[in-house]
Each structure stands twice: as C-alpha cells, then as structure tokens.
C-alpha cells in the first residue's frame, strides 16, 4: 500500500549527517531487552487503546491484519549509541488506529506484554510518525525484536518503540514509563541527545 520513505532518496545524503550526535552506525540489529521474551501467540494477541474517559478500542490479530498497512523505511537510534539506517518495516499507522478514538488527552503511556511501559506525548504517535509494526526486512517480526508486533516511533530513541506492544493508555497527565522512571530522559530526542533525565 502506501510507501512511506524517510530519508533522502534521489539526493542521497551520506551516513554522517543522518547520524545523531554521540551515535555510531551498525549493520546488525542488536537485541536489547529488560526481561524475558514474552510468548504471545497471535491468536491470543490483542491491542487496545484506552481513553481518559474509560473507553476502550480493541483489535484482534486478524483485525490488525485487515487494516491498511504502510511500509516505512526509517533510521533507528538506540540510546546505547548504535544507529541503523534504512530499516524496512511493515505495519499499521497509528493514525489508522486513532481514526475513531475521541480524546482530549495529551499524553500516552504505551504498555507491553511482559510489563514494559514507555511514555510519550500523543502528538508524537500521530501524523505519520508511528506504527504498530509486525514485519521487519520482509519477514515476520521475530519475538526477540518485539514480535508479533512492536511500536515503531523512529524519531525518538528506540526504547520508546516498545516491543511486544499491547496497548496505549491516554492520559491527561504525563506518567513516566519503565526507563523514564529510572534516569532516562522523558522525551528522548536523539538529535538533541536527550539520553538521561538531566540532559
């Protein structure tokens, strides 16, 4: 379907000016994990958006697969200082999932199978900036990389791209997530090198 390309095709820039400060380029895809890899078979998978008024919007795996998808090519930046350029994904834009969600909330708390959480402003999930991704480099997303589905928010450090994503809770007040409560920056913009809470 829609192909979303972030980058500089045609007038291609070299690797260096696509590399945020303090990052190095890697070709492989390091596995980072704060806990055991949860086993989430697609037939038991569910994704939900909970609004601040208590409304829930839910999708089964089959329902997610039936939604229009995009195939973004994006650069990803991990706070542990590796960056990887031109990674290719397939997933559903959050704009599609939020189509029928009525909310006045400004904050989102993303939660995952296995208990992980991460927070970000709702606007950073919208307008073509985020996806629920379920394929990587043409293949099913491997469990160690967050399969069956992970959040993909490539403009922020990759800890915001929650693996094994399960849902999003919309909040009127910001609520810091797993790494954000343990010294990491609340927003995490790699271009401003917002690694730690006091950066």
């Amino acid at each position: 379907m829609t192909t979303f390309t972030r980058g500089f095709r045609g007038r291609r820039r070299g690797g260096d000016d696509r590399l945020p400060p303090g990052q190095y380029l890697t070709e492989d895809f390091p596995v980072l994990s704060a806990g055991p890899t949860p086993d989430v078979p697609p037939d038991r998978w569910e994704f939900a958006i909970h609004t601040e008024t208590g409304q829930a919007h839910r999708w089964t795996w089959q329902e997610l697969m039936a939604l229009p998808y995009e195939t973004p090519t994006v650069d990803i930046h991990c706070v542990t200082t590796w960056s990887k350029l031109d990674t290719t994904w397939q997933g559903v834009s959050l704009d599609v999932l939020f189509e029928d969600v009525e909310t006045a909330a400004e904050y989102a708390l993303v939660h995952s199978y296995g208990g992980y959480t991460t927070n970000l402003p709702l606007e950073d999930l919208l307008d073509g900036k985020a996806w629920i991704a379920y394929r990587y480099e043409g293949e099913e997303l491997a469990p160690v990389h967050g399969g069956p589905a992970r959040l993909l928010v490539p403009h922020l450090y990759f800890w915001k791209s929650a693996k094994w994503v399960r849902g999003i809770r919309l909040l009127t007040e910001d609520w810091p997530g797993f790494w954000e409560t343990a010294g990491y920056h609340n927003y995490g913009d790699p271009w401003r090198e917002q690694r730690y809470a006091d950066d």
């Binding site: 980072l32 704060a34 055991p36 890899t37 730690y196």
Partner: protein, 89 residues
C-alpha cells in the same frame, strides 16, 4: 533463553560504586512474590539501557540501575528490604 540474563554477581561491580559494602551478598525479599534470597541469585538483564535484576521466582523487577557518565539511578522498589551483612564489633 539460557543466555538471556546473567546471575546477580554481575551487580557486584556496578553497585560497589554506590555502596560501601558488597551488596551481592545482601539478602532481600521480592516485593511481588515474597521469595527471599541473596542479590547474587537475581537474574540480571544487562543488554539493555540499564541493569534490570529480576526475581528468579516470579520474574518481576527487583532492582534497576542506570549509569550515566556523571550519575547513577538506583531503583529498589521491587525489594522489600535488603539485609546487608556488616562486620561485627
């Protein structure tokens, strides 16, 4: 799964920077399931932005440690209490 985590002795060095004593021998109780054991018996996930030590019984987080160039953040909320052995009189 075997290579996913290290044992709690991996915490000894990083915590030695903060505590004046070897905390890996300290005995704590998991706030989630109540399992009691030495810090050295925790499962430490180190391929992450910080160290995450989980209970070997219930896999809940017992301790987290994040180190930046000039500060450390230590979260012990998953541990009810640590009994830290100290030298007698």
């Amino acid at each position: 799964m075997s290579a996913d985590y290290l044992d709690g002795n991996a915490l000894a060095g990083p915590l030695a920077e903060i505590f004046a004593t070897d905390v890996s021998a300290a005995v704590g109780r998991c706030a989630s399931c109540g399992l009691t054991g030495p810090v050295a018996s925790l499962r430490v996930y180190s391929r992450a932005p910080g160290l995450v030590a989980r209970c070997p019984g219930c896999e809940e987080v017992v301790l987290r440690l994040v180190r930046s160039p000039d500060a450390a953040w230590l979260d012990l909320r998953g541990a009810v209490c640590l009994r830290i052995p100290l030298g007698g009189p």
